[in-house]
């Protein structure tokens, strides 16, 4: 697991063995493998192209949002607004496609704008979160609560709460098309994961993110532009949420501002927590987040495929989160 850390470079606890340590270090990977083995043994028709496709298509939006969330949490923050920002971008895109904001001279221009503008708007709102947090020193959970409440309202007001149905093959490439047999949104997701993991480990910005989350005071004294780092991180989280909103409406050929991204903040936070990123900040693992999202998706799929109702899957997800964070806790105190 690619695990980037600045604050605890080589604590002795990491070199000592033991099952608990092993679970804490690679718990997500172990969990995923156990889940796969269980499914191979018990779930009928598990080994099929279709199973893989269904799970990857469903998980893509969560992973895209969770990548941004990982960076936010790495700085010691949290972003509750991602679901609402998805709704805003998902509400804007069809309005642009259908030419309801501006008449479009050329259909391809409409498609291009429908890709770019909603994501930028979501990014701008994300930047605004960061602005509130850094300029007024408002706690992230409260600052992003503002847009959590108002953001979905904005999306609903813009569309008057109506369902927007559309059909546009060029736009829906990011939800329905395949490249070399792989759904396009899955490729997008993998590019984002790889890019973010590289950035966190190899770039100055990545180091700065971890430093800010590890010890903000020390980071400031070391000359790191803490406010600027935080604003960029929330901006990225907003951009990711905007992109995920587009993916979701492209899959559905419809946009319902009441539903897009509903509860996404919880799924994303859960994926980050299960993936082993320290919730207090300072240590983050993007590949862990990918594994965490896959685990959450696969648990749900496993239960559903074996006839357990969706509501029981919620309880299972709760247990999973507690277990993951509890194991993480053991790792910290060991």
């Amino acid at each position: 697991m690619a695990d980037a850390s600045l604050v605890h470079p080589a604590s002795p606890a990491r070199t000592t063995g033991g099952l608990g340590q092993l679970l804490a270090r690679h718990g997500a990977l172990v969990g995923l493998i156990l889940l796969l083995l269980f499914n191979l043994a018990f779930t009928p028709n598990f080994v099929s192209w279709q199973t893989l496709n269904v799970n990857l298509t469903q998980v893509a939006a969560i992973v895209i949002v969770a990548v941004g969330m990982t960076l936010v949490i790495a700085t010691g923050g949290i972003d509750l607004s991602v679901g609402s920002l998805m709704a805003i971008s998902g509400a804007l895109a069809p309005l642009i496609l259908l030419g309801q904001i501006l008449p479009m001279p050329h259909p391809l221009l409409a498609v291009a704008l429908a890709f770019v503008l909603p994501v930028l708007v979501a990014g701008a709102f994300g930047w605004f979160n960061g602005f509130l947090i850094t300029r007024y020193r408002i706690q992230p959970i409260v600052a992003t609560l503002v847009l959590f409440i108002a953001g979905r309202g904005i999306a609903q007001v813009v569309t008057n709460g109506n369902l927007q149905v559309f059909r546009n093959p060029e736009f829906q490439v990011i939800g329905l098309s395949r490249l070399f047999g792989i759904p396009v949104q899955v490729i997008l997701m993998l590019i984002l994961v790889a890019g973010a993991a590289w950035m966190l480990r190899r770039t100055l910005f990545g180091r700065q993110i971890l430093a800010v989350g590890g010890n903000e005071q020390a980071a400031r004294l070391a000359g790191i532009p803490v406010a600027s780092v935080k604003r960029r991180v929330y901006l990225i989280s907003g951009l990711c949420a905007g992109l995920a909103g587009l993916v979701v409406i492209a899959i559905n050929s419809a946009s319902d501002a009441n539903l897009i991204g509903l509860g996404m903040e919880l799924d994303a936070i859960a994926a980050v927590a299960v993936g082993g990123t320290l919730l207090a900040g300072g240590r983050a693992s993007i590949t862990g987040t990918l594994l965490g999202a896959l685990i959450i998706q696969l648990v749900r799929y496993t239960l559903l495929a074996n006839g357990v109702p969706d509501s029981a899957a919620l309880v299972a997800k709760a247990g999973l989160i507690v277990l993951a964070v509890w194991l993480q806790q053991g790792r910290k105190s060991a």
Partner: protein, 326 residues
């Protein structure tokens, strides 16, 4: 009365503390001047009947936040409790009430155990309880709403009146009086603020920080359970998918009420004012639409609430900054 561990009270901070009550009065004045029947008994009573559910949840949240924590599970716990209460309603008013309250209490105790025994951060612990309670509610209800029994007096808990006031409003009023007494006059109340202000220091002073935290979450669960009972009785059904977003409404009410999210400070009265204020925005929007000059869809409600929260947190941040430096 606002209690705080620091005794210095500059003028600006006073404005910040009582601003919410002033804003509430101004909003009521605005409504009274602008709309007929705004202060009519029908509007007041139905407003109180509806808002008391949210006020109960906000009260529990206020104590949790004062202790330096957060409780994201209250909405889902209220929904689950409404299902439990509806299932128990054929046995009568008291069994329905007790069953719903007990369901909430169990969820609160679970939060308390996760946070104090397993040392899981409140944000994640209560998030997990939120999912678990939501799932349990749906399982118990079989994925649909469960209608309550009209053969017993259970629905009185939501629809009945006592001495001219709605019973939910009585329940909320009693809870707030008790909450105010606990915060202002008991050792436990002071411990909550001490733990929220500086947990390590309060431990060194010999305060039972874990017990305080445990009780705060148990209390929040209990109050969410009561809100669930009222929900079921008021609308005649246990509603497993109701309660989505209640936790954020409650947090907003507490923040609007001037309680610092960092813990250690807060007031029961301002929380009530915050909850009433957020509820009143919705009420006034309804009246405004009734006038027919403008037509604001219900969707504006969340935009306005969000903007309001924004205003309050910025104001609060400025006041806190001023208090810290001046």
């Amino acid at each position: 009365m606002t209690r705080s561990l620091t005794s210095r009270v500059p003028l600006l901070v006073l404005v910040g503390r009582y601003g919410v009550i002033a804003a509430l009065l101004l909003l009521i004045l605005f409504g009274w001047a602008r709309y007929d029947n705004f202060l009519g008994s029908y509007n007041i009573l139905s407003f109180l009947r509806y808002t008391s559910m949210f006020a109960l949840v906000a009260l529990g949240m206020a104590f949790v936040i004062m202790s330096g924590g957060i409780d994201l599970s209250v909405g889902a716990v209220a929904a689950m409790s409404s299902v439990v209460a509806a299932l128990a309603s054929p046995f009568g008013l008291i069994p329905g009430l007790l069953a719903g309250a007990a369901a909430g209490l169990v969820a609160g105790i679970l939060n308390g155990i996760l946070i104090t025994r397993l040392q899981i951060v409140p944000f994640i612990a209560t998030l997990a309880t939120m999912l678990a309670a939501g799932g349990t509610g749906l399982l118990l209800a079989g994925n649909q709403s469960v209608s309550v029994s009209y053969d017993t007096a259970f629905v009185e808990l939501g629809q009945g009146d006592l001495l001219g006031f709605p019973i939910p409003a009585w329940i909320a009023a009693i809870a707030y009086v008790l909450g105010s007494i606990i915060l202002n006059l008991t050792a436990f109340g002071r411990s909550v603020l001490a733990v929220g202000g500086n947990e390590d220091a309060s431990r060194m002073m010999g305060l039972p920080a874990d017990r305080v935290k445990f009780l705060v979450y148990a209390g929040s669960g209990l109050l969410a359970g009561l809100a669930g009972v009222i929900l079921a009785a008021q609308f005649g059904a246990g509603q497993p998918i109701e309660g989505v977003g209640w936790e954020l409404f409650a947090i907003a009410a507490v923040v609007v009420g001037g309680t610092l999210l960092t813990g250690g400070k807060g007031s029961v009265e301002s929380t009530l004012a915050g909850a009433l204020l957020l509820g009143l925005i919705f009420n006034i929007l309804n009246f405004e639409n009734g006038l027919g000059w403008i037509s604001l869809s219900a969707y504006w409600q969340s935009v306005i609430r969000g903007l309001f929260l924004l205003l309050v947190v910025i104001l609060q941040a400025k006041l806190v900054g001023r208090e810290a430096t001046g």
